[in-house]
Amino acid sequence: MVNLSVRKLVKDFAGGTRAVDGIDFDVPAGTLFTLLGPSGCGKTTTLRMVAGLESPTSGSILFGNEDYTRFPPHKRNIGMVFQSYALFPHMSVFENVAYGLRVRTKQAEEVKSKVGKALELVGLSHTAARRPSQLSGGQQQRIALARALVYDPALLLLDEPLSNLDAKLRIQMREEIRRIQKAAGATTLYVTHDQEEALSISDVVAVIHSGRISQIGKPHDVYEKPASALVADFIGRANFIKCLITHKEGTGRAVKVAGSTITVGCCVGDQASFNAGDEALLFFRPEKAALSTSPVESKSVPCVVRQVLYLGESVRYTTELPTKEVVQLALNRRAEGIDEGSSANIVLEASDLRIFPMDQYGLIKRGN
């Protein structure tokens, strides 16, 4: 297993579209690194360049301290799981898994024992004689994983491996993938558009947007401390409210929201954009707020409850501020005495609040 380093990678497609626009990242040996982004953001193109299936317009791909940028794909010693699994329909499960080994060795005994171990690792030893078409989606997925790992590749690439499975199986399989990846100690590059999947499975997540990396960090940091309104908006649910900065308070600011003044713990970005009198974009997660019938000094904003939806594990409140801005709240229990049509106060802790420069307003989706 080696470190993977990607340096200033650029890919222009015929017709002038720039799919990947200068991407840099490092994947330390044995870790799982995820490229997360919406479809068309360039994450799969990046993965395919690492695999050698696409050639970069510029930039470099390093395995350890060797530059593999222009090296042919079949010589790179990579394991890859495709979105559609790409199991060979005309071969048995055994032959599918043995394929990469047979390229590397002629010793039948070695092939047999390694395939046996790989099938054991994914818990499907009993399917060796079957054809891929006789397996369920989840089983095909695991065979694809066994086939990619069996010859100890320098690097494991996973391209949206769970997108063809139903919701329940997806959750089960991502735990399974994480277990197998750790057991094999494989340096892994994982591509997905599913943020929950990315957060749960990765050591490090890179959020990609329009061919560029918006943020690299541990799952916890990417979710709790988004580096931009764009990341905050793409990962999880987010509230964005316009606010006016009144004065500085430590590293944070006091801001005016719909007539009330509240304290914000952190300003994200160039400090010069957060002077008194500037407009800014206040951000918080729906589950970080509380509802109260009475206001709390420098922590609450008045609202009217428009809709209450009971979702089982949480209760979703849709509220409206006096400015007509809509704010979503997710509480873990019903707020006493607050129903549809009630006036209430949204209570917010400074450490859960972040403000972004107002010029990021254009980047976010409105209406959630």
Partner: protein
């Protein structure tokens, strides 16, 4: 490429000569050489030869329109062109008159035995048309059985079977399945709700037929008619047997070569003939473009079938009659093969295997030649066709139009024209191949490879390229990936195409007639020679053998693909 972001001292893994996969490039180069040498060059050469006089070398100062001017000055040329148009158009008319009602009956009336009837109706398309053609001499010739009956009981003197009538009858009956299959296909694809909504709005049967059903399938009728036209105008076998003094363009080309070895005149006539085919093809493109918009249906519901007992009875009888008439020539060939004496009676007065025994003297070595040539050409077509298909489907490169052109050309060019092209290219040094087995094999491959190409590229397009990418990622070279993954997956389609190629080559006449020598006489040439000597019995016996080989080959292909015969020949 600028190498950016790499620290000093990084070891650059360069692909050495051994790391690069050359196999794909070698294949590409091979394919390019074959296409250029054996297709593009001969056709280019033929084009040039048509603009110089016989025996003049190709040079700027020798360029002349002399060969083309004969279409104005020579009655023979003018007539041949008019005859070609006349027989082709009348073949289209009669093929449509037979195919259209059959298509309607089979798709809209609930009659028994549809599957068998469809297979029987497809037979005339599979069997070589010229084999059936000479049975008309037995039926409608001077001593033909039908001629005899008409004269004896009705006092009607039939016009000679040689010429316009004979060619039209034989071609219409051979090509009507195109109309039947293509129109039936689009009738069964048409959205049933359209007809049902016409029902609901109160339209009667005939109004519905006239205002909804026919307009919907009109594009496929048009496409079928054009297909029949292209087939008919390029056909050599039928007019060579039933033409007599009635020359059409393909027989005129043959006459120029065999009579005068005038490749220049033959080239010019070929060019004129090709212009008609290209015109028809351009028309086809416009017609089928419309078709795509019409036949799209989102429902899997089948069109309601007419179950009225009278309609069912009438429909069944009409369908059976059409199919019986179209099979008459082939049945006649079979019966004649086993008859010793057959003149003026409905059934031979003496049956025996004498005709087959007579074949021993002259037909054994042609039979062997045909099989040898067909096997070699089939293997080459399969190998080249699937490699070309692979190159065209999987590789992105700027020269793709050459492959598209090379593969389209043989569809447009009649066999006789390909024969002329190869004669102009290889009938003289430096590459003198005329009369050898090589030139026949080259001709066969050029003509048939496109069919393998179509089949293989269809299979490749239906195959997800990530399967090949997965193989590459696991470390397999291009050759290993092609051999272990690509080839096994497209094999059924390719083998089936190979079987069909083999059967069509056994029945190949037009190109062979231009290029064969005494050493490499084929079974079809042997049949032709029997006919010239008026030995209809042995001709029918040999024709029967050809038909049996063809049927066995096609049957095997359908089994291999798990498809009906009609599906394999319908959609062209």
């Amino acid at each position: 490429m600028a190498r950016v972001g790499v620290p000093e001292g990084t070891l650059v893994k360069k692909a050495g000569f051994k790391d690069i996969d050359w196999s794909a490039w070698i294949v590409l180069a091979m394919v390019a050489i074959i296409l250029v040498l054996f297709l593009i060059y001969p056709i280019g050469r033929m084009l040039l030869e048509s603009f110089v006089r016989q025996d003049d070398p190709i040079a700027i100062k020798n360029l002349t329109l002399y060969n083309f001017r004969r279409f104005i000055t020579s009655k023979l040329y003018k007539d041949a062109m008019m005859h070609s148009l006349a027989v082709s158009l009348s073949s289209v008319l009669f093929a449509t008159l037979l195919g259209l009602p059959l298509a309607f009956i089979m798709s809209r009336i609930d009659i028994p035995g549809k599957s068998v009837l469809t297979s029987l109706a497809t037979l005339p398309l599979i069997l070589p048309p010229f084999v059936g053609a000479y049975s008309w001499i037995l039926l409608l010739g001077k001593n033909g059985f039908i001629t005899f009956l008409l004269k004896k009981y009705l006092g009607i003197d039939m016009p000679s079977i040689y010429g316009f009538h004979g060619i039209t009858i034989a071609q219409a009956l051979s090509y009507y399945p195109f109309v039947f299959l293509m129109v039936q296909g689009s009738l069964s694809l048409a959205d049933p709700f359209l007809e049902e909504s016409a029902d609901v709005m109160g339209a009667g049967f005939w109004r519905k037929l006239r205002t909804i059903t026919l307009p919907l399938v009109a594009p496929s009728i048009g496409a079928a008619a054009i297909t029949v036209f292209m087939k008919a105008i390029g056909n050599f076998g039928v007019p060579s047997i039933l033409g007599g003094e009635y020359y059409v363009l393909p027989t005129l080309i043959y006459f120029q070569i065999v009579g005068f070895y005038n490749v220049n005149a033959a080239s010019a006539i070929s060019l004129v003939s090709v212009l008609f085919s290209i015109g028809a093809l351009l028309l086809m493109r416009r017609v089928t473009a419309k078709q795509a918009a019409v036949t799209l249906t989102t429902t899997t519901r089948k069109v309601k079938q007419i179950t009225n007992p009278v309609a069912k009875t009438v429909g069944f009888i009409v369908a059976l009659l059409i199919i019986l008439v179209s099979l008459t020539p082939h049945i006649t060939v079979l019966v004649a093969a086993f008859s010793e004496r057959w003149a003026g009676t409905p059934w031979p007065t003496k049956m025996s295997t004498a005709n087959f025994l007579k074949l021993q003297a002259h037909a054994l070595s042609p039979l062997k030649n045909s099989v040898v040539l067909a096997v070699v050409a089939t293997l080459a077509s399969v190998a080249i066709g699937s490699l070309v298909a692979y190159t065209a489907v999987r590789r992105k490169f700027s020269g793709r139009w050459i492959i598209d052109l090379a593969v389209m050309l043989p569809f447009v060019l009649p066999g006789i024209v390909i024969g002329v092209a190869l004669l102009t290219a290889f009938g003289a040094p430096p590459l003198y191949l005329a009369g050898t087995a090589y030139i026949l094999i080259i001709a066969y491959v050029i003509r048939r490879m496109p069919y393998v190409f179509r089949s293989a590229s269809g299979a490749l397009q239906g195959m997800d390229p990530v399967l090949e990418q997965a193989s590459t990622i696991m470390g397999a070279s291009w050759a290993r990936t092609f051999g272990k993954v690509t080839l096994p997956l497209i094999a059924p389609s390719v083998v089936a195409a190979g079987l069909i190629t083999f059967t069509t080559l056994i029945g190949e006449l037009s190109t062979t007639m231009m290029l064969y020598s005494a050493r490499w006489k084929t079974v079809t040439v042997a049949i032709y020679e029997y006919l010239l000597e008026d030995l209809l019995g042995p001709a029918c016996a040999l024709g029967t053998i050809v038909n049996v080989i063809v049927l066995v080959g096609i049957f095997a292909a359908t089994k291999l693909l798990g498809q009906k015969v009609s599906n394999m020949f319908g959609g062209s």
